[in-house]
């Protein structure tokens, strides 16, 4: 009889080879305890965190911690219900109003995770005769949303507005609405969307535009609203989807929009309706983190400086790092034989980053994905660059002549 588990044999042997080559399972790293936003205890050692997406360091915000403690005392630890049944408390509506108002939008829907926000919005907005037009390098939550939707799904070449235009033109005359989905900053590579060009295509073709600002919210734009604010094209964005689990340091997802029909999406959106709502302490902490974000624009300035420092340092020592400066900086390596020992050596020497392997990477090459924080000190960044140099030399990813 066929084993239920035979489909995992490929994964099991790939994982076996990974562990054999490097000594560790890169997908089972345990952060025993955060010491601060930038340092965690891993394998008993204090380790610099350069792979946590905690861009502003707000997971350790004193204001958010205090708000969560107060909310737990007042409301208890959970809602035990879904948003459309018993899972909406006044806090949930308050957070929706605050996030909508921070974006200057009519309304917001809050989801239990960022993944569910994409899954829910994308699967619900488009119907059977509609078209979803996705960037080829979209996050898994976007692809999964497209699979849950009955719409026809078309991919366009990554960050290529001309290609998007061409594919929309091919659909001229077909019935059905068209929804373009792009991300602000792409999570694996740190590539920033050319959002002004995308918005121009949207205007010309009459499509709708959804922008996932998961990695760009709190990071780009004067108020930290993301790439659309930075490029001055917010008015062209019909739906902004985002997450609380990056720059705001908590967990949960959202969609903001000026379309009044968002209220009807609530009653048609399965990943919103059929899951438990966020617990009160998370809502309270998120609202406090949003205040931190509004009150401390200097965090974004510092984040930009820190990202530029790490980016310049990587290029100086000869690493093949992202072209654009953003808080996600990916170092591309040619082979797994370089990437696995280098990632392990980095951790031995006290730097944690994410090891990203094909096919989860865009061009079949492994990535050492780093995320920078506003709270990193210049000394921590310089130390990380030096450790990258040492690990890169030992793994054969860097040549000795490059100093």
């Amino acid at each position: 009889m066929t084993s239920l588990f035979s489909k995992f044999e490929g994964t099991a042997s790939a994982l076996g080879a990974l562990v054999e080559a490097g000594g560790r399972n890169p997908f089972a790293v345990v952060i025993e305890k955060p010491i601060s936003s930038t340092v965690g205890l891993i394998e008993g050692r204090e380790t610099l965190l350069f792979g946590t997406n905690n861009y502003l360091g707000l997971s350790q915000s004193e204001r958010a911690i205090k708000a969560a403690q107060d909310a737990v005392s007042k409301y208890g630890v959970g809602t035990t219900g879904s948003r459309i049944a018993n899972g909406t408390q006044s806090l949930h509506r308050q957070l929706e109003q605050r996030i909508a108002s921070y974006f200057g939008r009519r309304d917001a829907m809050v989801f239990s995770t960022g993944y569910q926000a994409n899954l829910g919005m994308i699967s619900t907005l488009v119907g059977k005769d509609d078209y979803l037009i996705l960037d080829a390098d979209s996050h898994a939550s976007i692809y999964d949303g497209s699979r849950l939707s009955p719409a026809q799904v078309i991919r366009f070449r990554h960050n290529d507005a001309d290609d998007l235009h061409k594919r929309l033109k091919r659909l001229d005359g077909t019935p059905g609405a068209k929804l373009i989905v792009v991300e602000g900053i792409y999570s694996m590579t740190g590539n920033v969307a050319p959002i002004a060009e995308m918005a121009a295509v949207k205007r010309e073709t009459g499509a709708y535009l959804l922008v996932d600002e998961a990695h760009s919210f709190g990071v780009m734009g004067k108020k930290g609203l993301g790439v659309a604010e930075e490029a001055g094209v917010e008015a062209d964005v019909d739906f902004v989807v985002g997450t609380f689990s990056k720059s705001l340091g908590t967990v949960g997802g959202y969609c903001v929009s000026d379309h009044p029909e968002l209220e009807m999406v609530r009653l048609n959106c399965r990943p919103y309706m059929f899951t438990a709502s966020l617990p009160p302490e998370v809502i309270a902490a998120t609202m406090a983190a949003l205040e931190d974000l509004a009150d401390h624009p200097e965090l974004r300035t510092q984040l930009k400086e820190n990202a530029a420092r790490l980016h310049a340092g990587f290029h100086r020592i000869g690493l093949n790092a992202s072209r654009q400066v953003s808080p996600v900086i990916a170092v591309t390596l040619e082979t797994l034989e370089q990437a696995i020992p280098m990632w392990n050596r980095l951790l031995d020497l006290g730097v944690y980053v994410n090891l990203s392997l094909p096919p989860a990477t865009p061009d079949h090459r492994p990535l050492l994905r780093c995320s920078v924080m506003a709270t990193h000190t210049a000394a921590q960044i310089d130390q990380a660059i030096e450790i990258f140099r040492q690990a890169g030399l030992e793994a054969g990813a860097l040549k000795e002549t490059v100093a």
Binding site: A136, Q152, V153, I154, R167, R170, P359
Partner: protein
């Protein structure tokens, strides 16, 4: 449009053979993922190239039903006739 399943299939094979990793003895009945060892991302990227040559878009949901090179060719011809 003058494309037939045979002509599109021949074009797909010609494009595949431009990739040195693809076995030399492929024909229209080859299964794209199993016989050519393409993962899902490689299939999507390859289909994008074919789309541009033939000026057609193959929706991703249609890809789920496509196993062989001829399946892909038939799907493209159907889409072109519909358009």
């Amino acid at each position: 449009m003058s494309e037939t399943v045979e002509s599109v299939s021949a074009l797909i094979i010609q494009k595949l053979l431009a990739n040195p990793k693809v076995p030399r003895d492929i024909d229209g009945n080859c299964k794209i993922m199993e016989d050519l060892a393409f993962d899902s991302l490689a299939v999507m990227n390859f289909v994008m190239e074919v789309e541009d040559t033939l000026d057609v878009s193959v929706p991703l949901d249609k890809l789920a039903d496509i196993r062989t090179i001829n399946d892909l060719a038939k799907c493209i011809v159907d889409l072109k006739n519909k358009g």
